[in-house]
């Protein structure tokens, strides 16, 4: 390695394949080419990646192609599509859910961690903010206000009970 070995090698490695595929911008292509001209390690990796490139050279026998063209015909397809559309049952929610679970997706780890952090924060906030409504008596008062088994129910009055003041003109 001669030039920009520490930083540029990392950058270059990620762009070697795109360089081979002609998918880099002209300036990026130049950067990668210039780096490789001075970096034997990256140049070697470039060659090895190039040698591992899959090339399309599958031979399909003519008989197979004929069968394909016979089977995959527009009239047959339109007929099957129309027939199927008429008879196709609407998928149930269970089937849709199962299909969703079976799908092959990549969930970024950052998204999972973010979701878990949000969930934990929401639960923590919920626990911290839970309290009796403002103005309500404390819990012990509520207990004290329950009728005691020793006091006959007809003699029991809540501690907070105050007799209403008589308002003139009420009688």
């Amino acid at each position: 390695m001669v030039r920009g070995a520490t930083v540029d090698c990392t950058d270059t490695h990620g762009r070697l394949v795109a360089h081979q595929d002609g998918e880099l911008s002209p300036s990026e292509t130049l950067q990668v080419s210039e780096h490789m001209s001075g970096c034997a390690r990256c140049a070697d990796r470039y060659e090895r990646l190039l040698a591992a490139t899959p090339r399309p050279n599958l031979s399909i026998p003519p008989a197979i192609l004929r069968r394909l063209h016979d089977r995959v015909d527009v009239d047959a397809i339109l007929a099957a599509a129309a027939n199927g559309a008429a008879n196709r049952p609407h998928p149930s929610w269970v089937a849709r859910g199962a299909a969703w679970l079976r799908r092959d997706t990549e969930i970024p780890m950052a998204a999972v961690i973010g979701y878990l952090l949000l969930l934990a924060a929401a639960l923590g906030w919920g626990a911290a903010s839970w309290h009796a409504p403002p103005g309500a008596p404390p819990a012990e008062t509520l207990v004290a206000e329950q009728p005691s088994p020793e006091i006959p129910a007809e003699q029991w009055q809540p501690v907070s009970w105050q007799p209403e003041e008589e308002t003139p003109g009420m009688h």
Partner: protein
């Protein structure tokens, strides 16, 4: 009857022109997707015919690479077009039909591959079923290196295999792959880079000289 071809090497340069190149040549006479959408406004059947003629062989090719089985690849190709004709938005102006077709083909193929694995895992537990022959790689290749690469790709993850096949066997651009797999352009670049690095490592493990 299922046609089973073993992995062969063909050294005759007279037949080394890839089918894909032939297909690309054939496709050049077919209108592009936007023109087909225009046709669909006047004549739905004609537009459907153009779509089938344009994409039938390339999609079959793509399916054959994944499935390594001609008959299954034909079935999948047929199913993809039936699904396409049932898709209400298929000829809509902003519908990316090429990406959609390749996405559906890939999904159907990988579903079949997964089913095959499940079936073979069950069969292995049944002693009398062991006599059943495993499916052969039904492909004919022109070079040892390329047949080894295809075999090595079976050891990659499904995501890596899928993206490599879309790029190198079906010749989709990064933008088209981005649409087909519904991932960002930057993800296409990084995933392809990782996939190819992984492929290189697998080839190294099996003792194939790559450079």
């Amino acid at each position: 009857m299922r046609v089973t071809l073993r992995l062969l090497l063909v050294h005759d340069d007279g037949v080394t022109m890839s089918n894909l190149r032939l297909l690309r040549g054939a496709s050049s006479t077919v209108p592009d997707d936007d023109a087909i959408k225009e046709v669909a406004r006047r004549d739905h059947r004609h537009a459907s015919d153009l779509v089938v003629r344009k994409y039938r062989d390339p999609l079959f090719h793509h399916a054959a690479y994944i499935l390594k089985d001609w008959d299954e690849a034909i079935d999948v190709t047929q199913e993809v077009f039936i699904k396409a004709m049932r898709e209400q938005r298929f000829f809509d102006e902003d519908f990316k039909m090429k990406a959609w077709l390749y996405r559906v083909t890939s999904n159907l193929c990988f579903n079949l591959v997964r089913d095959r694995r499940r079936r073979s895992a069950i069969l292995e537990t049944i002693p009398q079923a062991k006599v059943a022959e495993a499916r052969q790689a039904d492909v004919v290749f022109h070079s040892q290196q390329q047949s080894t690469i295809l075999t090595a790709m079976d050891r990659l993850t499904e995501n890596h295999r899928s993206i490599l096949m879309l790029r190198y066997y079906s010749d989709l651009s990064y933008a088209e792959i981005s649409d087909a797999l519904d991932i960002k352009l930057g993800t296409v670049m990084s995933r392809l880079s990782r996939a190819k690095s992984q492929l290189m490592e697998v080839l190294h493990e099996v003792g194939v000289s790559v450079g």
